[in-house]
Amino acid sequence: MRIEIGHKFYLGFIIVVGALVALNHLIPRLGIPEHLHQVVVTGAALLVGLILGRLFSRGFTANVDILSTCARNISQGDLSRGVEVRRIWFEDETADLARSLEDVVQNLRELVGHIAGASSQVNESSRNLSSSCQEMSSATNEVAGSIEQIRLGADTQAEIVEKAGRTIKEMAMSTHLVAGSSRKVADSAETTALCAQKGGEMAEMALKKMKLVLAEVERGSRQFITFGSHVHQIGKMVDLITGIAERTNLLALNATIEAARAGEAGRGFAVVAEEVSKLADSSAASASEITELVRRIREENLEVQQAMKNGIREIGEGHQAIDTATEAFGRIVETAMATRNKAGSISELSAQQTKGAGEMVALIDRISILAGENASATEEVSSATLEQSASMEEMAAAAKELSLLADRLMEVVRQFRLPRTQERHDDFTL
């Protein structure tokens, strides 16, 4: 049963007054001396008042103490304990206050739990954000490095393209020169073909004359062989003469011996024998000279024959050489004609090549422009990446600051104590 505190005072006052009235009627009937009536009645009324006061104030005081303790706990952040007031016979405003305080504690618990969870999540998220920022920052740095390399590559590419353009222009010039040279080569090849044709005709003429010479030489060779046989016969005859001279000489010698042996009688004979001997000596000397001449003629004949053989062989080789030369001139004519045709083709191809090189130069110029644009775009990307990197660093700093704020919030939230069940329920450690 609920009785407000004010009503309890009213009720106590009425009960004390009613007790006074009732005691005033009751005491005279109890045989208590009259002069004691007032004392007893006062005493009894005081007693009733004290008992009622005790009854009413004990629960109130206790509840106020509990509420006071609870309020102090809340003020100290201790939300782990509930607000429980004593059960009294007659509830009053303290019970309402206790329930309200209990609601406050409960709401604070939920609030602190939510704040703690949220700050934890914020902390975790800010840490994740910080690490993500760092990763992104490093990735951005890598991207910046790569972009720088790309920029350098683009610059190099632009230079290379420029060089390629120059080279292709030079190549186009060279091709133009090649075309001119090819035309000259074609003219020269035609001239060569004409010269080779004339050379071939000359070689044929030389061959015919060489054949005539060869025939003459063969005829001379045969005459020489005949001459050699004649010389051989002369040699034989000289040998015969030499033999006769020797025998004559021997005969004269023996005649001289006979004359000497005959003494004075043989003196005239000795003179004849001596003259014969001189004649024989003269014949022998002449025969010897003829023999020497024949020997020389034979040697020279042999040399001449050898020379003629060599000449015939060389003429044969010359014949072959002229054949080869004629054939070579024919080939030269063919080759020169082929060269002329090829040079003409080269000239045409060179003209096409020159045209293609011009187109290539235009393309290279366009590529060069694009390469320049690429280089400038890459520089812009590089600067944007640097800005992004700076932003990432700022974001990382902000995330770190947020994390610090979350930590501080956690510190603040840790000052509150919650029941263990709720701590476990919220997975929140204080």
Partner: protein, 135 residues
Amino acid sequence: MTILLFELGRGLYALPLVQLREVTSPGKLFPIPLAPAVFPGAMNLKGHALPVLDLARLLDETQAPARILVLARELADLGLATGATRGFVKDAELPPEICAPTPDRPWRTLLREGSEIRLLDAKTLLLRLERHFPA
């Protein structure tokens, strides 16, 4: 005295004409059984066998035979194989008798136009042969 000059080895030798019968070319030689080495053989001289003496070998010279000098019949029936003949020297002056040939040195030395001529003596040669090859 007329002498016949002939070559023998490195020297120029001579023989008096009167000691010779004839000069002929060397013919085919037929070996003589059991004859000494200075007799290389016998040749056919007009149908008669003529022993031939290797004069170069006898006088310690070396000479391929070019002529056969046939000695006079009254001296010996012998041919001397020599080198080529070099003509005659008429009225050759003989050295003094003190330079007479001996069997060990069967010649006399003459000087003619700066050349040394060894004038052999057929008789001394035959003596040398008899000394070396007694019968």
